[in-house]
Symmetry: C2
């Protein structure tokens, strides 16, 4: 479409700084005739401290009208653990049915990895975003006593698993290597594990060109550090996806460059794009944050909205920028953003 | 005690081969006046294929009379996923209340790691072994239909969490660095997470000399590959422990050297010691398996039974053997066992 109406949630800490650069690069990438409208929202720790609110029904109504959402990062040490996660981040993922949580991992030339031997890493994780242990099901009895019992219920449905598995197969089919790995723990979590495995095997029949494998999540962490080149597309549950995508980010250049999309493929609701990193209060306000993960999230956003050429240009600019970093003095957040904006515009 | 009555479960695949070497080294390490009695049990895929049984009440009664259990590995591709895991391994952990699942990670000199820069790694994970998502709670409705729903319930009790947290604090207190990290996901799994965090903070007051930190499991996977030297003792839930100990094994020399103990600290039941690796049917029967993880599990077993001197001797022998491996031709399973037996005896 020839206009983009974007909700922008800078959030807290470095979220503010990196989102500014993301928008800078976005503006530079868009052709003249695409009109960009943005509206900023103050969600996060600031709003919570001021009003006690995290995300109201009115907020959701308002967000719903945008084409997409760009999020920086939310949270600060003054907010109790879980309040913004459950009250904002997860609430939004669930409310807008962001069932495809997309997290590409690509080790770009010139980028440092903690792994020896600079392996080839280029895979994408399709993490389920609306089920599993993230539903908030469960509870506590006898809280604070010696007899406390706390439960967490992982809820998995054929409907929910099938749609994300199907999305992952389609992505694998569209990539040159056409490989898809299901990661779960079906030998222990047998109820959920059988559902995932059955659905995966059933959908696989519709994609005969895709080579599949199954891997336990514990074994997957080994392969991610010893043979990361073996992965092409991975599909997995919400919690396993959370864990392995942080590991994947670590081995493929760090969370400074890890982008993600919380996608509603049906387009009933706007999708949300955000760097994998958090608000990093320790370095906030110092211009030290790397905006690259946010800029790559902007590329995912553009691709989602059908602006593939612009998404490609941003990804190419990031590759070129990273390739030239080694040995150079560190740049500030805005210097990196400026450099990327120049590259995508030129 | 001056005698050891050991249950030996070689299991399947390479389990048989590595257990033979473990026993060889155990015999060599024990002083003349300690009588070693062993009884072999045929649990695993062999027994399952022959009789359909995994672990009967009579088996448990029989196992219960031993001082400790040495397990190789069980499983083969002919057994459906979950049957032996739930029907044998987990059944035994639960029946014998193995609530401390102990997994040391130490990168020994000369041992290869996938990480660049050969970091210093020397930590131990205390994984809870009888609760969390491993209880088998949950179920399936409308199985096999488009409306299937499968649940997994993580069950966490103050009793269960406190005893393992206390064990971990005591281990941290006894180590030179006196550091303990709690790993969980308390910002999302808020019911279980609050229980773990509250108990951890309460017990911490009794151990003022132990420095503590909290880390989300996703962040922990990053630190395990970027700053593994930061860890001393880790305490965590059953599933997170499963995942991070495989990653820990991968970065600290691979599952060829990763040992573990399923410990009942109350000594009401015998504890079980086993390598972290599986039965590896692909290399079984070829004398290719590295028995080192089993030998190190034997050292944990001896330490548990109070034979610290012998445990030290085995660990020293393994260190010396590994230090000399680099650049040498590969040895067979029994050659490695022989070399270790000679070292511990001499
Ligand atoms: C902050 C938290 C709720 C979130 C998650 O667990 O999904 C984060 O770790 C992520 O991966 O986006
Ligand atoms: C085989 C399986 C049941 C087991 C577990 O998940 O605990 C294994 O992965 C382990 O870590 O000992």
């Amino acid at each position: 479409s020839r206009s983009i109406d974007l909700a922008v949630i800078p959030g807290d800490g470095i979220g503010q700084e990196v989102v500014a650069e993301g928008l800078k690069v976005l503006s530079a990438a868009l052709p003249q005739d695409v009109k960009l409208e943005t509206r900023e929202y103050d969600f996060g720790a600031r709003r919570y401290h001021a009003t006690g609110e995290t995300l109201t029904d009115a907020d959701l109504d308002s967000l719903k009208r945008h084409d997409a959402i760009l999020l920086g990062a939310i949270g600060d040490p003054g907010v109790p653990s879980g309040v913004l996660e459950r009250g904002f981040l997860l609430k939004l993922r669930f409310a807008f049915d962001h069932h495809v949580n997309l997290r590409p991992s690509k080790l770009l030339p010139g980028v440092a990895t903690p792994l020896a031997g600079q392996p080839e890493i280029d895979f994408v994780v399709v993490r389920e975003g609306t089920e599993g242990p993230y539903t908030g099901n469960g509870g506590t009895i006898r809280k604070g006593t010696q007899h406390e019992v706390a439960t967490e219920v992982s809820v998995n449905t054929a409907f929910g698993v099938e749609r994300v598995v199907r999305d992952a197969f389609a992505r694998a089919q569209a990539r040159p290597r056409r490989k898809l790995a299901l990661i779960h723990k079906n030998n222990v979590l047998t109820f959920a594990g059988h559902l995932w495995t059955d659905v995966f095997n059933r959908v696989a029949e519709e994609f005969p060109e895709v080579t599949t494998e199954y891997m336990h999540v514990d074994a997957a962490t080994i392969y991610l550090v010893t043979q990361p080149e073996r992965f092409d597309v991975i599909v997995t549950d919400n919690l396993f996806g959370d864990i392995i995508t942080d590991l994947a980010a670590a081995v493929s250049g760090g969370i400074g460059v890890a982008a993600s999309g919380n996608i509603n493929p049906d387009r009933v609701f706007p999708s949300m794009f955000e760097p994998v990193h958090g608000s990093a209060p320790d370095i906030a306000g110092q211009g030290k944050a790397d905006p690259t993960a946010t800029v790559l999230s902007v590329a995912l956003l553009l691709r989602h909205l059908g602006h593939d050429t612009e998404a490609d240009r941003i990804e190419d600019a990031v590759s070129a920028d990273l390739a030239e970093r080694a040995g150079r003095p560190a740049r500030s957040t805005s210097e990196i953003g400026d450099a990327l904006a120049v590259r995508v515009a030129g």
